[in-house]
Symmetry: C2
Subunit: 329 residues, 2 copies
C-alpha cells in the first residue's frame, strides 16, 4: 500500500486544490478564508465501520455519507458549506483500492456541494476503521438557526420525507420482505446517501423560528427542540410526509409506523415557522422543488419543565411509542 506522504500527495492534495489556505496540504495547518462580514460555522461527526456503515458498503458511499451528515448539521444552522478536515484511522481491511474509492466519493461530493478539503490526518488502527470529518461553513453576521427559539403557536415543518433511512437500513439487513425491487433500492439509497438540505438551511434564515436536522429520529429530534425551547410539540402522525416506498412498506407492515417515526438517518430539516407565514414556506418549497410539510405545532408546555412531544393519531389520541430514537451508547 502507498505510504502516508504519497497517499496525501497523490490522493488528498487534489481535493485541496480549490482552497488557497490549504497550501496543498503541505503545511502544519490551514487558513480559513472568509469574505468580509462572514463567520465560520463548524461541526464534527464521526463514523465507525460496522456501526455507522456496513463493511460491504462501497467506499464511495461511505465517504459521501460522512461528508453529507456533516453538511446536514451546517444546514441546520443556516450555514453555507465551504470546506472540511478529515481524520481517517484505517483498519487492516483498507487497501489502496478502498481508499481510491473513498477519495473518489469525496471528489464527487466536493463538486456537488462546492466544498474543498482543508487538511486532516491519516493513520492506522488494528481495529475497525474510524472516520471523522470536521465541516466548516459560512454565515453572515446576525442570528443563525437554533434549537432553543421555538415558540408556542409556531407551526412545525419538515423537509422531504421521513423514515426512508430507517427502513433502508432494514432493507439492507434483510428485515423487510415483500417490497418491490424499486422500493428496496430507493430506501437503501436513502440510507446510504443522505440528501443534506444545504440550500434549504440558509434559505430558512429569517423565516424559521427554530431548526435542527433529523438524524436521531423524528420524535427524538423533536424532543430536542422542545427541551431547548421549553414548549410542547404536537405532531399529527398522518401529516408526516412519507415516500411511496415507505407507504408501500406500511401497506403490509403497519406495525412499522413507530420505526418510521423514531428511526434515524433521515437528514431532513425540522423547523418552526410563526403563524401567518405559511405562504412563505409554500413559496420556498416551490422555489427549491422540495416538499416542506406542516406536521404539527408548538403549544405551551403542560409540565413545568417543558419538553413533551405528543404524536397524535387521526382521532387526536396520543400514539404510544416504545422508543424515541437512536443513541450511540
Amino acid at each position: 500500500m502507498r505510504g502516508e506522504f504519497e497517499t496525501i500527495a497523490r490522493l488528498y492534495a487534489p481535493l485541496a486544490a480549490g482552497a488557497p489556505g490549504a497550501f496543498g496540504l503541505r503545511n502544519d495547518a490551514a487558513v480559513v478564508e472568509l469574505a468580509p462580514g462572514e463567520r465560520s460555522v463548524v461541526t464534527l461527526d464521526a463514523m465507525v465501520e460496522g456501526v455507522h456503515w456496513l463493511p460491504a458498503d462501497p467506499p464511495e458511499a461511505v465517504a459521501r455519507k460522512l461528508l453529507r451528515v456533516n453538511l446536514s448539521d451546517l444546514a441546520a444552522m443556516g450555514a453555507v458549506p465551504r470546506s472540511y478536515l478529515l481524520a481517517t484511522c484505517l483498519g487492516p481491511s483498507v487497501g489502496d483500492a478502498w481508499l481510491e474509492g473513498f477519495v473518489a466519493g469525496l471528489a464527487a461530493d466536493q463538486e456537488r456541494y462546492g466544498v474543498t478539503l482543508l487538511g486532516g490526518d491519516t493513520t492506522r488502527t488494528p481495529g475497525p476503521t474510524c472516520l471523522s470529518l470536521t465541516a466548516l461553513g459560512a454565515i453572515s453576521e446576525g442570528p443563525c438557526l437554533m434549537r432553543s427559539t421555538l415558540k408556542a403557536g409556531d407551526g412545525l415543518y419538515v423537509s422531504g420525507t421521513i423514515g426512508d433511512g430507517a427502513l433502508g437500513l432494514d432493507v439492507l439487513q434483510d428485515r423487510i420482505e415483500g417490497l418491490a425491487a424499486a422500493d428496496r433500492d430507493f430506501l437503501a439509497e436513502r440510507y446510504r446517501l443522505p440528501q443534506p438540505r444545504t440550500t434549504l438551511g440558509p434559505a430558512l434564515l429569517g423565516l424559521a423560528s427554530a431548526c435542527l436536522d433529523v438524524s436521531d429520529g423524528l420524535v427524538a429530534d423533536a424532543s430536542h427542540l422542545t427541551e431547548e425551547s421549553g414548549v410542547d410539540l404536537e405532531i399529527e402522525a398522518a401529516a408526516v410526509p412519507l415516500s411511496a416506498a415507505v407507504r408501500a412498506a406500511l401497506g403490509h407492515r403497519p406495525d412499522l409506523l413507530p420505526r418510521v417515526l423514531t428511526g434515524g438517518d433521515d437528514y431532513e430539516l425540522l423547523f418552526g415557522v410563526a403563524a401567518g407565514r405559511e405562504g412563505e414556506v409554500a413559496a420556498l418549497s416551490a422555489r427549491l422543488a422540495l416538499p416542506l410539510t406542516r406536521i404539527g405545532r408548538a403549544v405551551p408546555a403542560r409540565a413545568a419543565e417543558g419538553g413533551a412531544v405528543r404524536v397524535l393519531d387521526e382521532a387526536g389520541r396520543p400514539l404510544a411509542l416504545e422508543t424515541r430514537g437512536w443513541t450511540h451508547f
Copy 2:
C-alpha cells in the same frame, strides 16, 4: 455507563462554557468567534489506542497529548490557539472513570492554553479507541509561518531540546537500561506530555523565514522544509540541543544518537531566520525563557530537485542515518 446525551451534558458541556458560539453543545454546529481582522487557522490530528498511546497511560495524559499535538501545529503556523472540536470513538475498555479522567485532562489544558471546546461527536467502536481533535487558532491578516519560504543563507533554529520524546517512549517500553530514575521520569513525561510552543509560534511571525513543528523526527521534518523550499540543509549534530537526560543516555549508549536525531514526538519548532537577525532570536529566547538554538543553515540545493538534509559530525563529515523518521503507515 452514562448515555450519550448525559455524557455530553455532564462531562463536555462545562468545557464549552467559555465559548458563546458553542451554545452549550446543544445545537448542531458552533459559530467561531473572531475579532475584526483575524482569520481562523485549523488543524486536525488523530490518535489511536495502542498506536499513539499505551493502554496503561493515564487518560488525563492521553487527553492532554491529543490537544497539545494539535496546538503544536497551530504554533507552527504562528496562530494563537482558541478552540477545538473533539471526536471520540470509544473502545470497550472505556468506562465512566476513564472518560472522567480524559475530560479532567482537557479541562486542565484548556485553562493552561486558553482554549475552549466548541463541539464534536462521541460514539462507540468494538476496536481500539480512536480519537481525533480539530484545533482552531487565530492569526491576524498577513502572512502566516510556512514550510516553503526557507532561503539559502538562513540560519536553522530549534526550540527546547530534541530526542526526549523518542527516548521517553524507549523508557516506557523498557528498551533503555542504566538511567537514573529522575532521568527516566523526565523522558517519560516528555513523551507523554509534549510542550507545544504556543507562545513562541506567534512571536516568530515577522522573524522566522519558515517554520514547522518537529513531530516526525528532526531529520524527517528538516527534510519537509528542504522539499518545500527547494534548498539543502546542513545540520551540525553537535549543535543539536539535548536535555541532561538524553546526554546521560548517550553517555553509555552512544549508538542512540541516530534515534535522538530521527525519533518523533519532540513537538518543538524548527525554523529559519535570515542572516543578521541572530540577536533578535537571542532576545526572544531570553524573553520567553526558552532555549532557541542555532543547529545549522540552509544552503543552495546541490541536486536540481533540491531537498537534501546533511547531518554533519564535528569534523564536518555527513553522518549515515538509516532512517529519517516516523511515518504512520
